[in-house]
Symmetry: C2
Subunit: 416 residues, 2 copies
């Protein structure tokens, strides 16, 4: 039995205790974790300091150092976030459906925990706690594999969580850290069939693709977002400018920001200059089709087909003028990663056509794509945004960390 | 672009037509398929005859030849099964949930088709039609990859279905057959990311494990069933014998038949001889623990730990006497593949304990495990029985072939 298998076995055994723990006990555990994080602030900062020193030695970029860094304030914020999960409704035990069969068998579909959840993530130590408490609240054991850059912080955070679990009488092994941060161990984790019920990668495209390609356990793919706003000819101009601007510039690095703007030809001439004005405040680089070039002039870089596939992730956008809502939908079907798309329109038929034909996780009418987010959807917390269609789609809250079970009661029925 | 990619691209394009086809049109297509199957009976039998001739040449076993063989009667049965799918409720379009956010955004969760579904299966040509029509009814395109032993039958069946689709104005590419039956093409199919939304293997353990190990697209694992019946001390003896006998002997080759019988020590002495009497009618081979050996005598083969992990799939069983319902549950947690388990009891607390602690897809009280089946659950038809926890668990009907989409309507909301 290799190292990962031993973690898997312990997690599976512990998962039974989490599955049969009631909401009260799980909330006690989460509250204990929240308190312990604050109480151990000094110890956590000390461990984080080691990671920060290594980061400096290894010439980590300032942006990445900032993500890695823990302060008393940030630890307090993490502890507060745990209390928000305490307040969330427990999904476990819900009777989703129930029916009676002609032979007298009563079948109930009951929501139960997933079992053992694996999370592979990069160097944000806040994910260590966020992910663990969401898994725990949904009655699961969790195996965390963070980046080696954060190993000292993670070791300390996980120890604090384990002690808190033990203090309420739950097994420490409900939260385990993969202490070996080499690639071989990560590969073992991706093939931990029989122990891991699902593996969720959280991080950049490279990490996610590596997991999708290597894993033999079930995976939920997250992340990729080539999102679109389409401005219909019937759109209210002010609303259209506001939504296009918000969807592109409010936080261009995130997956629900847009990469391509589609504009109906009848409104292009009047609205594109207004949109450019808004974009200019952020010096947005525009790749435009021929019509866009004609309207906006030399500042527009001729767009290529490659641009339409691109997730810029910064102040850069592709703009294409289209003949109809049908052409806009066809463009989205071809180039989108099926994350989030929005139509700005006052035409009910066009809105319905867009909703019925765009096959993305989140489809908007007259709102910014930036709302595709667990908090904004009202889930209270989010473990990630699924970009696959199996099991969970779009922002994933606690429900995505559960499965269901059929419970069938009879009085001696046998099959004939 | 390789061969599989070109199939994938055509399927994806066709899937949009299926997704926006209403129930009426989809049912017309299915009805046309059912009629065409009957009308083309001679042609189908002729094609099947080629496969049967090759089967004889290749010394295929009689059992496998029987699975491969199509007769006018069997084709009529397949056509009738298609009409049963016509009668099923269309899952697409259901509004699963809806809520209003404080900022005025209305969020609806709407059931939509999965998109493109891949099915890899062995040499039963009835699966070709069964699987295709279920996928179509749920609004999907399907790519079928059957065994090379059935290639002539499958080519003919798929052509018949394609013509029927065209006759009602739907794209033929909604049902495509992988005509190249080599392993490399199958491997390409398993890695058809971006085109295949899910891949479902149907067949033996070897096929399923190959798909789980090689696939990079999302997979639904089906099949493995190491199932248990536990007879509690409070069980009604007659009911216990009847359920144990049915679960083991009614059809021992299927995944919902049991492999191990657990018996409470207080009832073992009186009930085991009765169970043996029932088993003897089928000459069931018994592997028993020491107590079982003492009670039933020399006919019992001493059980090994390996036996407890085994899926016999024939008239063979392991029997273990346990001290309590807790010990029975611990045994199941350790050895079960989490498919189906049953407790026979008159004790309400033991029934509840069993339901709450056994984490299998289907958990029974006082009924045979043999009911874990789409028909028996009332789903009307079944694409397989999922043994994983992601997306679908247990018998999978039409719902398992759908996903959902968030549809959000606003009046100009942007994120602050």
């Amino acid at each position: 039995m290799n190292y990962m298998e031993s973690l898997g076995q312990k997690a599976k055994q512990a998962s039974y205790a989490a599955a049969s723990a009631g909401t009260v006990l799980k909330n006690q555990a989460l509250t204990a974790i929240s308190e312990a994080l604050v109480q151990n602030t000094d110890k956590i900062i000390e461990a984080n300091q080691k990671d920060m020193e290594n980061a400096v030695k290894n010439n980590m970029t300032a942006a990445m150092q900032d993500r890695l860094k823990l302060t008393a304030e940030r630890i307090q914020a993490i502890a507060n976030a745990v209390l928000k999960v305490v307040a969330l409704e427990d999904p476990v035990g819900e009777e989703i459906k129930g029916w009676l069969r002609p032979n007298g068998l009563r079948i109930r579909q009951v929501r139960v925990p997933m079992g053992v959840i694996g999370i592979i993530f990069e160097s944000r130590p806040n994910v260590t706690v966020d992910a663990a408490v969401l898994c725990l609240k949904a009655g699961n054991a969790v195996i965390l594999r963070g980046g080696k850059e954060a190993i000292n912080s993670n070791l300390c955070l996980v120890k604090v969580m384990q002690n808190a679990l033990a203090s309420v009488g739950l097994p420490e092994e409900l939260v385990q850290l993969v202490e070996k941060t080499d690639r071989e161990t990560a590969a073992d984790m991706m093939k931990l069939n029989g122990y891991l019920d699902v593996l969720i990668p959280r991080g950049g495209a490279g990490l996610i693709q590596a997991v999708v390609k290597q894993a033999t356990v079930p995976v939920i793919e997250t992340g990729a977002g080539n999102c679109h706003v389409y401005i219909d000819d019937s759109a209210l101009p002010e609303m259209a400018v506001s939504i296009a601007d918000n969807a592109k510039t409010q936080r261009p690095s995130v997956c629900n920001a847009i990469e391509t703007l589609l504009v109906h030809k009848e409104i292009a001439e009047s609205i594109l200059p207004e949109i450019k004005k808004a974009f200019d405040k952020h010096e947005v680089i525009i790749h435009g089709c021929e019509v866009t070039q004609k309207i906006l002039g030399d500042c527009v870089i001729p767009v290529t087909e490659e641009d339409y596939f691109k997730e810029y992730g910064n102040y850069e956008i592709a703009i294409r003028v289209v003949d109809s809502v049908e052409e806009a939908v066809a463009h989205i079907q071809k180039y989108s990663t099926s994350h989030s798309e929005s139509i700005v329109t006052q035409n009910m038929n066009h809105a319905e056509y867009f909703l019925n034909h765009v096959n993305s996780a989140a489809v908007y009418v007259n709102a910014s794509t930036r709302f595709t987010d667990g908090e904004e959807f009202g889930f209270g917390a989010e473990i990630g945004i699924s970009t696959q269609k199996l099991h969970a789609r779009g922002p994933m809250g606690l429900l995505a960390l559960t499965t269901m079970q059929y419970r069938i009661t009879g009085n001696g029925q046998v099959r004939g």
